[in-house]
Symmetry: C2
Subunit: 216 residues, 2 copies
DNA sequence: CGGGTTATTGAACGGTTATTCAGGTTAGGC
DNA sequence: GCCTAACCTGAATAACCGTTCAATAACCCG
């Protein structure tokens, strides 16, 4: 019956596919370079459908931001639950930032988001939400460590702010493939700051970049 | 006849005016939102002239980047020569980053540059050059302090990298007007990191977040 | 099974914008 | 003073791209 057209899944499925395609295109071409055609092509649908579901290109971009948020939350949760104990967890964060996966592409996406947030309210809200969430996670790990007595910080709030900002700053260089900046270096540099900020004792500091390291 | 047209200064003057206008427009509208018309309007000339001098919109944007570099160099030089001694100089850098002037707008321009650098080679080169210059200045101050014995760092190179990255990271929040981030907080947060990284002795750390400032 | 609503398409439309161009104006060497 | 080349302009051109639209197809419900 009714010779199967290419795809006739639930409209929700198509909608989601378009959203995912949008993110993929933005990742590759940036917000400014993303056209309706690109999205349609990446999603395997027509331009018309993109507009049908989201009203406009801007609408599709905006909707994709909330998907981005959701996925970020999810992944963050999943990632941090893998590891227990303040020090390993902090270390894990250091490595997460560098990203063993396609992190460079992800950081580029964040850069795009920052710039878009300058002028687009939806993007501003998304990036603020993302940032708060991220900083909250960091904050939580720090509090955990303070409570356990393995971290020491005179002003934890400021330390968290600085560590979060440092990661963003380092990420810029990673995203732009600054010569000399690698994921390994990223992790190392950030971790050293964390050690400094939080007075982590050598015992807890298990993973050295190379060679011995001590404190006193 | 031919009543005097508005302006017939040297073509170099117009060229420069267009370049300056381009930067101004990019600052306000971003690279993506900058149109030839905007530049012409801001420069008080015709669209034709913009293209006449620079060949294309992309050409004008590219040319404006080198002007941006030049002006940055100049201003950096001028600014840092004002202050002597490692500690005051470092402190000055902390305040420069926060910017007592239109720094928010400037940081937004840097954000724009970063994103453009992802895909545009000219922008990439410009930002790398700018960044090296900036980091070099920081590095110089740090070396000065190490030589004078007022700073102590086990890995100065890493410290410089981190301090530079931290400034970028904090700048993002400043540029995006993150609630709670002010120029004062910016300076304070960065300065504390500098103190921590470089083991600045309390004597040198003259400026509290508020209160008087003096030197030995 | 109909009939109406929802999805989906591809082509047509229209606005915006970079670029081209033909024609003037200015400046400076001769 | 005049001639040529550099400068400058505003309008015409043309391409690109978001959006609209009329026509189908699929789905759902009674």
């Amino acid at each position: 019956m009714a010779a199967a057209t290419l795809a006739a899944k639930a409209p929700e499925e198509r909608r989601g596919r378009i959203l995912r395609a949008t993110i993929a295109v933005v990742r590759e071409r940036g917000f400014a370079g993303t056209r309706v055609t690109d999205i349609a092509e990446a999603a395997g649908t027509s331009q018309g459908l993109v507009l049908y579901h989201f009203g406009s290109l801007a609408g599709a971009l905006a909707a994709s931001l909330t998907l981005l948020e959701d996925e970020f939350y999810e992944e963050l949760e999943r990632n941090l639950s893998e590891v227990v104990g303040p020090v390993p967890r902090l270390r894990h964060i250091a490595e997460l930032g560098a990203g063993y996966g396609p992190a460079v592409g992800d950081w580029r996406l964040w850069l795009e988001l920052w710039v878009r947030a300058i002028r687009d309210d939806g993007a501003r809200a998304a990036r603020e939400s993302l940032d708060n969430r991220w900083r909250g996670a960091l904050r939580q790990v720090v509090d955990e460590g303070l409570a356990a007595g393995v971290f020491a910080a005179s002003d934890p709030k400021a330390s968290v702010l600085r560590l979060a900002a440092l990661m963003d700053g380092l990420a810029i260089q990673l995203a732009l493939a600054e010569p000399g900046m690698t994921t390994g270096k990223f992790t190392e540099l950030w971790w050293q700051s964390a050690v400094l900020e939080l007075g982590i004792s050598p015992a807890g500091e298990k993973t050295g970049p190379a060679g011995g390291r001590r404190k006193k």
